[in-house]
């Protein structure tokens, strides 16, 4: 099939970007979206043009490195999918596709479709861990955790840190990302001890990184490739209020 692409090109954070038109023939429905981009880049390189820079690595939906706004939707038209798992069979011959980077004040554009998501790392640095050194661990079965508890913690822990929640949010809020980590750790007995300090510190860092506030539109859950639930946000708010009150 033939596609008309409008792709965001921008040399660096400081310059002005714009949408550039490309036409691509012979796109095969079995191709993944990124393989379609590879094909375009191959053509650009052979013409001596600079290929489109985009983030990607594992190409199986788990590393969280890929992410584009495709026709205005984070990771494209299919819900709960990463960009690398999107296939061209979701489009039809003659379609025009808009491809843009994830946009948020906290995710500055590096070049073309690559953005800087290091703000997420700094949120984790603020307390997204259990303070245990190598060698300190007790026997694993010494801390019984019910099946349901472990599964529920896993549901929160499954976040891949791609940033689609931020990109799709009208406020560019990182509430889903931050709350998923807070919940993962607070749901487990090992992580519970530090939970009060953790939530205050991680939320503070989230605010300092210029993410917006959550206004409960729940758009993030719709786009999240791992289907992280917005209930994590509710849990974070509860945990935050509790910790703030008890701190006083």
């Amino acid at each position: 099939m033939k596609l008309y692409l409008k792709i965001w090109r921008q040399s660096d954070a400081a310059s002005q970007g714009k949408l550039v038109d490309y036409e691509l023939d012979n796109v095969i429905p079995h191709m993944s979206f990124l393989e379609m981009m590879d094909t375009l880049n191959e053509e650009l390189v052979l013409k001596g043009d600079r290929p489109v820079e985009f983030d990607h690595d594992c190409r199986e939906g788990i590393c969280g490195q890929c992410g584009m706004m495709i026709n205005g939707q984070a990771h494209g038209p299919i819900a709960n999918l990463t960009t690398c798992q999107l296939h061209m069979r979701e489009f039809k011959d003659g379609d025009t596709i808009y491809v843009e980077p994830f946009r948020a004040l906290a995710f500055p554009i590096k070049r073309d479709l690559r953005v800087d998501r290091s703000a997420f790392d700094r949120i984790i640095m603020a307390g997204g861990f259990i303070s245990v050194n190598t060698g300190q661990a007790p026997e694993a079965n010494g801390i019984p955790i019910t099946h349901e508890q472990a599964e529920s913690a896993f549901d929160s822990a499954a976040c891949i840190g791609c940033g689609a929640c931020v990109a799709t949010c009208k406020n560019s809020s990182a509430a889903l990302f931050t709350s998923a980590k807070i919940s993962h750790l607070a749901k487990l007995p090992q992580g519970k001890m530090e939970s009060r300090k953790r939530v205050l510190s991680m939320v503070k860092q989230m605010d300092e990184e210029n993410f917006g506030h959550c206004s409960n539109t729940e758009a993030c859950e719709v786009e999240c490739p791992q289907q992280i639930s917005v209930l994590n946000i509710a849990r974070m708010n509860w945990e935050y209020s509790l910790s703030s009150v008890l701190k006083k």
Binding site: L34, C63, R111, T134, A140
Partner: protein, 638 residues
């Protein structure tokens, strides 16, 4: 040159304790003065960086991804092995050691493998303490599943995302140290050379991939935890950025490479569907706990799988290996699949796949049970193929996966360059000629958390008097000049073919001649072709853009330039080993039933290779393997 593995004295089960009791220590005040560089932030790298930083060393950590959490350990699905014997099914450290040695077809060191099994239980404790949500039984205790090549259940898992959860544990431990300022983390930095001063590893040259800037960093010791290079086959289960460059450049500075041709071809990946394809997605081996593998009895079968009656199906693994059935080890399962596909019984549009069927398990256990165990894998399968595997069997095919080979290391995980360590998949150590499922996460973690802290300290104890090296030392200047010259060479060629063209051509050569089966004639042919391809690469490559900016094509070209050299050594390694063992199957050496035929008399050694300079054939230095605790047996899973 004689290789000394530095195996501690004493009985097998006491060697690691002996080592730990006698290893030299660095006192806390001195640790602050010692700099450690760790390249790679997968399980081995982040575990080592975090653990060494907790001890008080100054650590610099580098990765090419945009966050340490994205290293490819993240993609491991099925699980991690540990000899906890929670299932009361007869497991023990010794049994795990024996399974691993046998699984590797008796081509690894007894002492290393025993230590891996010995440290396995401790890893589960560590991961649980970090908050890794392993699968639990209803009573609250940890659950296990089975993996290939063993008859006990010793695999711990977090649904089908065990690698991700273990990596988040070590990533979080690492970020905790970054926050404490004991680790300085450099993301989007790629290592391009090791700097050796007075025979010791003292620094690295790295390139900032966002700006193109070349940087020099010095330290008292360098740890490479840069993963495997299965991506050399182009189509593989690896991430796009996985590469051999860090270990290859260390090799060219004097570190020996061991058994580089021993690549695991994973039996359960999604089949190739076209030339545009960039990777093959893995479906976890854990699926073989409940999935049955079959092909039609009739060749070139056109009926849909569900229309083929039971009596016309060939469950070839159950037929050939009744004792292990669908859980036969990976090398054996992959070869058996290739045998059926080559004989014309393959299925799918390209006739390059076999079925993995869950209908029996769903009938017996119910869809809900299967969904809970493998839900995310079935989802992934549907996302990629638009097929519902609860209704129709999956189609799977073998794909290049794990590098058993890598930098040669001794018992301390130190390479032949003093002060240069290699951890995890980057080294050749524990897996011999074939790795058992769920042992890779284990090895990476054990190397990083439990071995490096002792062995690196033991090395650093001898370095407390050595001053910090300044980065304007002549060795740094020379290394940077070389790195820059290599980058310019790639940009100046200005030919007519893309880096991907060379990678795809090379990958096909390796699949055909140095993949699941190898022959003398094929390997000699491949070496000639690789030499031609490499010459063409430096004549006709096209890389747009500049070196002092973000340039994804230049990164790729650099890695492929290295692959073109690694590939030749892989073929030479395979050509000089006149036997079949594990993943290395030489067509000339097989039993009448088509099983691998080892030659213990002549080839009971590790092939370590020494770089002799551009255009020179590498020198083979064998490290003989001594088996004092196990008997060299024919590896049978029948």
């Amino acid at each position: 040159m004689e290789l000394n593995a530095k195996i501690p004295p004493g009985p097998l089960k006491d060697k690691w304790s002996f080592y730990k009791d006698h290893a030299k220590l660095v006192n806390p005040a001195n640790r602050k003065k010692m700099d450690v560089i760790v390249v790679g932030t997968g399980l081995a790298g982040s575990a080592a960086a975090a653990s060494l930083a907790e001890m008080g060393y100054n650590v610099k950590s580098f990765c090419f991804q945009d966050s340490a959490r994205r290293a490819h350990s993240v993609a491991a699905q099925g699980g991690v092995n540990a000899a906890k014997n929670y299932k009361n099914d007869g497991d023990s450290v010794y049994r795990m050691f024996y399974d691993t040695i046998k699984g590797g077809d008796f081509r690894s060191r007894e002492a290393n493998v025993y230590r891996l099994a010995e440290c396995s239980a401790q890893l589960i404790d560590q991961a649980v303490a970090q908050g890794v949500p392993f699968g639990r039984e209803y009573g609250g205790y940890l659950n296990n599943r089975s993996f290939g090549g063993v008859q006990v259940s010793r695999t711990f898992y977090a649904r089908g995302q065990t690698g991700q959860q273990l990596l988040l544990g070590s990533y979080q431990a690492l970020m905790r140290q970054v926050a404490a300022k004991t680790v300085k983390l450099y993301t989007r930095h790629e290592m391009l050379d090791v700097v050796v001063i007075d025979g010791k590893a003292r620094g690295v040259i790295v390139r900032n991939l966002d700006t193109g800037e070349i940087e020099r960093h010095s330290a008292h010791t360098i740890i490479l935890a840069t993963g495997g290079f299965g991506k050399i086959y182009y189509l593989s289960t690896l991430a796009m950025g996985c590469n051999a460059s860090a270990i290859w450049r260390a090799h060219k500075r004097g570190a020996l490479m061991a058994c580089p041709s021993w690549t695991q071809v994973h039996p359960t990946s999604l089949p190739q569907s076209g030339d545009y394809q960039s990777k093959l997605t893995l479906m976890s081996e854990s699926l073989r706990n409940d999935g049955r593998i079959w092909v039609p009895l009739k060749s070139s079968e056109d009926r849909k799988p569900n229309d083929i009656p039971e009596s016309e199906r060939d469950y070839y693994l159950e037929r050939r290996y009744p004792a292990f059935g669908n859980l036969a080890p990976r090398d054996i399962s992959s070869r058996a699949a290739k045998e059926r596909i080559d004989a014309g019984f393959g299925v799918g549009p390209q006739r390059n796949a076999v079925y993995l069927d869950f209908s029996k398990a769903i009938k017996e256990q119910g869809k809900g049970q299967i969904k809970e165990k493998y839900g995310n894998l079935f989802d992934m399968y549907r996302k990629i193929t638009a097929t519902d595997a609860y209704v129709e069997p999956m189609m799977i095919s073998p794909a290049a996966h794990f590098s058993m080979g890598g930098l040669w290391v001794d018992y301390e995980l130190m390479t032949t360059i003093p002060g240069l360590f290699a951890l995890g998949e980057a080294n050749f150590a524990d897996h011999g000629a074939n790795r058992l499922g769920a042992n890779s996460l284990l090895q990476a973690c054990v190397d990083g958390y439990f071995i490096a802290p002792y062995t690196v300290s033991n090395y650093l104890a001898g370095e407390i008097k050595s001053e910090r090296v300044l980065i304007d030392h002549q060795a740094f200047i020379d290394a940077e000049v070389q790195v820059r010259a290599q980058l310019s060479k790639l940009l100046e060629t200005n030919g007519t073919k893309t880096a991907d063209y060379y990678h795809k051509t090379l990958g096909k050569l390796l699949y055909d001649y140095c993949g699941l089966s190898r022959s003398k004639k094929g390997l000699i042919h491949a070496i000639e072709e690789i030499k031609k391809l490499r010459a063409d690469f430096y004549k006709d490559l096209k890389v747009p853009g500049d070196e002092d900016e973000m340039n994804g094509e230049l990164e790729k070209a650099g890695r492929i330039g290295d692959y073109l050299e690694v590939a030749e050594l892989m073929c030479l390694d395979a050509l000089t080993r006149d036997e079949s063992c594990g993943a290395h199957f030489r067509e000339e050496y097989q039993t009448p039933e088509g099983e691998a035929l080892r030659n213990d008399e002549k080839f009971c050694f590790v092939s370590a290779w020494k770089w002799q300079g551009e255009g020179q054939e590498e020198l083979l230095i064998p490290e003989p393997l001594h088996f004092e605790n196990v008997e060299l047996a024919v590896r049978s899973y029948k």
